[in-house]
Amino acid sequence: MSFSNLTRRGLIKTSAVAGAGLALPTYLRADGHSGFTNAPTGSTVTLGFNVPQTGPYAEEGLDELRAQELAVQHLNGEGDGGMMNTFSSKALKGNGILGKKVEFVTGDTQTKSDAARASAKAMIEKDGAIMINGGSSSGVAVAVQGLCQEAGVIFMAGLTHSNDTTGKDKKANGFRHFFNGYMSAAALAPVLKNAYGSDRRAYHLTADYTWGWTQQESIAAATEAMGWETVNNVLTPLASTDFSSYIAPVLNSGADVLVLNHYGGNMVNSLTNAIQFDLLNKEVNGKKFEIVVPLYSELMAAGAGKNVQGVIGSMNWNWQLQDEGSKAFVKSFGEKYGRPPSNSAHTCYVQTLLYADACERAGTFNPCGVVEALEDFEFDGLGNGPVLYRGDDHQCFKDVLVMKGKENPSNEYDTLEIVEVTPRAQVEYAPDHPMFAGGELGKCNPGA
């Protein structure tokens, strides 16, 4: 045998093939904890909680963080177990996730897309976070979801209500438990018809970004379908603080309903300004003028004070629900923090449990295994009745709450009351609904 024909290039090719051949059996032998980004190797697993800790939504972020910390305690077998006791899936044992103690790191989204991506990236690359959870903005959710898809980690979204998050911007590695603009509109429309009639003229003020656009599109479509007319839709910059210039034209527009497609500080200020102009005491077209706030939160209602009284809106969940899961969570959260949880806290807590449960059922932390376990997963006992995590778009489908500002609150947390629990069937839509068109879920990315 002669080696006289061996060339330098041939040697490199042969070495590469031999190397790959030797490595392949090792890869195939690898257990479920390798071959993906940040596979846990020790006795712990790290979750990344990315919430606004500074900026206008810091209070909401703090509440999310409280809930996430509580979820970690429950996963590790500390405390009273909260919703783990009522969750229909019994995969979680209170010994961490897959036997590994759960630890967490936190990031500050600042409610800015670039800052949120940077903090998520830091948690993934420096802290070894295996999933990212939380947030209080659709713009941030879409940005972080994209990053997690690229990085090969699971993103369990927090408060994000834009149709786009599980519509045109959906990603295989991203999951949303929170409801969306379409669902709010579908739940609100019948209640608004009953309360205010089908012959109404609505004037919309809309926050000029992804959430505002899809929320306005949804509520306009739903109300027009029941006979309302949309008189005007005015886009307001996100940075607006004084909405008097936008409210004043409403008075002479012929509209008898003002729809505030605003959230957070925008909603607090626009509603306060509308009340200052005495809109709720006016009569237009022979009807009492009304204001609608499609998306409510407890913290916003507290910020708006008495101005929310009698104003109808919607929520994903509320601490006043009387199902066993909600009661267990409120008790657990209330005893630890001395206050009832917000609906953003609830969604972050549930998302953390759902992620952990999916890992247990899949038997792996591999994101593709987790995706498979979560897709079309049906569960109960986490509030809102029976829930489906639809595989087509990774959107949760569950009952939606229609709320109203309480007329005579008995304490600081008693700002909203539940008007109706809209059944899940009424807010469902087809995966190819035009309002959610334009994106591809793609394939799960396990990363490394």
Partner: protein, 342 residues
């Protein structure tokens, strides 16, 4: 026509806030030559004087309800404000209701003190430093003040309602002989009147008092006034306190218009600097004139009829006007020669 009048009123209202903040900025710049980026934070602290007094007046004793339960199923804590216990339910409730106007009494000494501490403790060390240094240090101070307020009051807006006597709106329609209603909120009218009063008081103070005369002389020629044996630095320090009090009072009365939050000062800061520049650096009448002018233009540009022709004009109108004015009158509307001109 109705829409134009309404937006004009809105403009006067917005202009009131711009003018008051810009007036304080100009006072500080005109006397001490300092570009104070912490001035918006002073406005915010003023608003939180309202919040603080509201909280003080609603300090309550607690009793456990025998019938009602809290969210955990424990007996509900019924809170009774001490002022209602001391003065009776009706008088006590009225005192709480008037928390915002009463906060003026709290804000004046607090803001004078804040201004004095800021000037003596930090800003005086930057008098001879470049304007860039002054901007950096005062901007940093603004962030610190924001974070301090956030630490104690949280990030959420805090509702601070106007007295119930001023809830609702006044209908100008019949007054102007219009067929239709032309309603404008009472409290915003109060705010405009209050601003006019403060602006008038500042001008009267500078115009008709000996102290004001010395300050005006110092603003025109600091060195000569100093050579006359007058301690002009001390007077300028007092003017810093007065400027802080003006911005603080603007904040106190603004609290019912938009629920105070820790970053509300920043929302006004940039616009107020534009107002100062358009009015003319160092010119007090210029600051007031530009404040009202830009407030009215901003409101008129928000009309749907105008935005349909020029989308987004309401967001840039102030800057467009600023550019036009500075191109045609580089010193601003009423700027003096030699101010910020090397």
């Amino acid at each position: 026509m109705d829409a134009i009048i309404l937006q004009f009123l809105n403009g006067l209202d917005k202009g009131s806030a711009y003018a008051l903040i810009a007036l304080g900025l100009t006072l500080i710049f005109g006397t001490l030559g300092v570009v104070n980026f912490a001035h918006g934070a002073i406005f915010m602290i003023g608003a939180f004087c309202s919040v603080t007094l509201q909280r003080i007046l609603t300090l309550s004793s607690e009793t456990l309800s025998e019938t009602e339960k809290d969210f955990l199923g424990n007996p509900l804590k019924i809170k009774t404000p001490y002022v209602e216990s001391w003065f009776g339910p009706e008088v006590g409730a009225s005192i709480i209701d008037w928390a915002v106007p009463l906060a003026i009494l709290l804000a004046i000494p607090v803001m004078l003190f804040v201004g004095f501490v800021m000037e003596r403790g930090l800003i005086k060390h930057f008098y001879k430093r470049p304007h860039a240094d002054q901007i950096l240090v005062t901007f940093g101070l603004a962030i610190v003040l924001q974070e301090v307020i956030k630490y104690f009051y949280g990030a959420n807006p805090i509702p601070t309602p106007a007295p119930s006597a001023f809830v609702g709106s006044f209908d100008f329609g019949p007054l102007l002989g219009l067929d239709s209603s032309l309603a404008y909120p009472y409290w915003r009218l109060v705010y405009f009147g209050f601003s006019a009063l403060i602006i008038g008081a500042v001008f009267a103070f500078l115009q008709f008092t000996t102290f004001g005369m010395v300050v005006r002389a110092g603003m025109a020629d600091r060195e000569t006034v100093g050579l006359l044996g007058i301690d002009i630095d001390r007077r300028f320090t007092i003017m810093f306190g007065i400027a802080a009090a003006v911005a603080g009072l603007a904040g106190v009365m603004y609290a019912p218009i938009n629920s105070p939050n820790y970053h509300m000062g920043m929302d006004f800061l940039v616009l107020s600097f534009v107002v100062v520049v358009v009015g003319g650096m160092g010119s007090l009448p210029g600051a007031v004139l530009a404040g009202f002018m830009l407030g009215i233009l901003e409101s008129l540009a928000s009309m749907n009829e105008i935005k349909n022709i020029l989308p987004g004009i309401d967001q840039i109108i102030i800057y467009v006007v600023a550019i036009i004015i500075l191109l045609t009158r580089p010193r601003g509307l009423m700027g003096r020669k030699g101010v910020m001109e090397e």
